[in-house]
Amino acid sequence: MILKGKTWKFGDNIDTDAIIPARYLNTSDPKELAKHVMEDADRNFASKVKAGDLIVAGANFGCGSSREHAPIAIKAAGIQAVAAKSFARIFYRNAFNIGLPIFESEEASVKIREGDEIEIDADRGKIRNITKGEEYTAKPIPSFMQELISTGGLIEWTRKRIKAS
């Protein structure tokens, strides 16, 4: 899987209230949620972001609530993937469960500047910065998570397990 696009940069501890404020959680419609993605971190983000863009952030991305609406809003806004120094654990689970590709890389988090064009080779765990001509390494994705991705997410994985039993 190759993910190529323009980046938007955020700092450390981007919490789920910033990704999708609770005031919009009276719905779980992905399209509605996408209209407010990252709103409390950058008021105009939803109008600036384009399908195929990527987010690069600092440490502890997605901290706070367990709301799956956070990775759903990001995905529904057309963002292909998130690379960060680290992810909060529930967000990490949720992203894999719903099929939003995420990559942990301190190097990428530090060196990528907003607007840089990057290309992520998900299988090799490499992040190429096309603008700067650099390459960074992402932490390998645990084998169970790879199994989840290749099966098509947790629901599909569970469906198959139930069928087999």
């Binding site: 910033a18 779980s28 409390d40 609406h69 529930i90 169970f144 947790l154």
Partner: protein, 418 residues
């Protein structure tokens, strides 16, 4: 093994588990609320399971935007109600019976020591106060577990926190946990189990233990946990709806890190905007004026919390520049507060005494902040926009500090008022 490892091992049929190991474990209880259950329900239907794994082990609690604050919220709550009827769930809590989920389930004896609990709510970690392994997950995890009764986990490394010494006057579980988060940061326990121990914890009442474990997530923790003891036995006796088991860590248990705190040096603590780790002694914040005070939530909405706030505000008035909102976390707490005269104390002080709801904690309803407004709250998060407008601010404190601040119109310590 640690207490966390023992509970996980017992639930995946293994004698031993080690940190980093991936396991598929049986869950004792699954919960979701009016924000997270709708997605879980939609995803569950995609699985194609004929039934839920156990109709008596899935708790649906509409508490966030309930009593239904608008049409959209009402539609979401209706999804929980309809699903509960369709699958005959015994643990659906309608408005009038519901309470803030993490106060309600321990109170009703539906979560017990030794349990493995997952909830589509990050503060599910609260039940660690009873000696259970409890952790927040997403809606899809809940959907999958509703079908199979199982969930996958990576066995976390454990981090030990030892508290010793005598607590200062008015200092409680909230101050200890805020102080700890201030020390280690909002990702200081990322992916880890936070094992809370020490002589000061042995003498900490159950409500303080629940408050401490409630905020483990605010340090990034997978779970917070306190080994059950006589206090736990007293709490669960007569409440527990299921058999329970006390686990404790072995002397040879391994920890990635051990931290010690002398409680006699922990002051009344407040977390300033916009992170729970941005802590300062309350006494140093007396220049911060406030517009609103909230006493309640899964963190501090229990009867003892209300008693503390009432003790401070009794016979006084909320400052004319301030709105004070008191929210008992469950119907039982509400009634108890009425019987004890606490409701009267609050209303006589010109505070609002509300029906149970998460409401303002997450900026849902029942006390939203306008642009530029500032609140002090006994809740758990002070992120940007958490209680309303993105340019409003939230300070986090214990109930006594919140009540004192309501009287003074600025952040204050109880001794300034009482």
């Amino acid at each position: 093994m640690t207490i966390t490892e023992k509970i996980l091992a017992a639930h995946c049929g293994k004698k031993e588990v080690t940190p980093g190991e991936l396991i598929n474990a049986k869950v004792d209880l699954i919960l979701a609320n009016d924000i997270t259950a709708p997605i879980a329900i939609t995803e569950f239907k995609k699985i194609g399971a004929k039934n839920v794994f156990d109709k008596d082990r899935i708790a649906f609690i509409p508490d966030h935007f309930a009593p239904q604050k608008d049409i959209k919220a009402a539609e979401q709550c209706k999804m929980l109600r309809d699903f509960s009827r369709e699958y005959n769930l015994s643990l659906y809590f309608e408005v009038g019976r519901m309470g803030v989920e993490h106060a309600l389930l321990p109170e009703q004896g539906l979560v017990v020591p030794g349990d493995l609990i997952i909830g589509a709510d990050s503060h599910t970690c609260t039940y660690g106060g009873l000696g259970a392994f409890a952790t927040g997950v997403g809606s899809t995890d809940v959907a999958s577990a509703m079908a199979t009764g199982e969930c996958w986990f990576k066995v976390p490394e454990s981090m030990k926190f030892k508290y010793y010494g005598k607590l200062n006057k008015w200092v409680g579980g909230k101050d200890l946990i805020l102080h700890t988060i201030g020390d280690i940061g909002v990702d200081g326990a990322l992916y880890r189990a936070m094992e809370i121990t020490g002589e000061a914890i042995s003498s900490l009442p159950m409500y303080g233990r629940l408050t401490m474990c409630n905020m483990a997530i605010e340090a990034g923790g997978k779970n917070g946990i306190i080994a059950p003891d006589e206090t736990t036995e007293q709490y669960v006796k007569g409440r527990a709806k299921r058999k329970y088991k006390f686990y404790s860590s072995d002397k040879s248990a391994k920890y990635v890190e051990v931290r010690e705190y002398d409680c006699s040096k922990i002051p009344l603590t407040v977390a300033c905007p916009h992170l729970p780790s941005n802590t300062k002694p309350a006494a140093e914040l007396s220049s911060i004026t406030i517009d609103q005070v909230v006493v309640g939530s899964c963190t501090n909405g229990r009867i003892e919390d209300l008693r503390e706030a009432a003790e401070v505000i009794k016979g006084k008035k909320v400052n004319p520049n301030v709105r004070m909102i008191v929210i008992p976390a469950t119907q039982q707490i509400y009634l108890q507060a009425v019987k004890e005269g606490l409701a009267e104390i609050f209303v006589n002080a010109d505070a609002v005494f509300s029906t149970p709801t998460c409401g303002p904690c997450l900026g849902g309803h029942m006390g939203i902040l306008a642009k530029g407004e500032r609140a002090i709250a006994t809740t758990n998060r002070n992120f940007v926009g958490r209680m309303g407008h993105p340019e409003s601010e939230v300070y986090l404190s214990n109930p006594a500090v919140a009540a004192a601040s309501a009287v003074m119109g600025r952040i204050a310590v109880p001794d300034e008022v009482v």
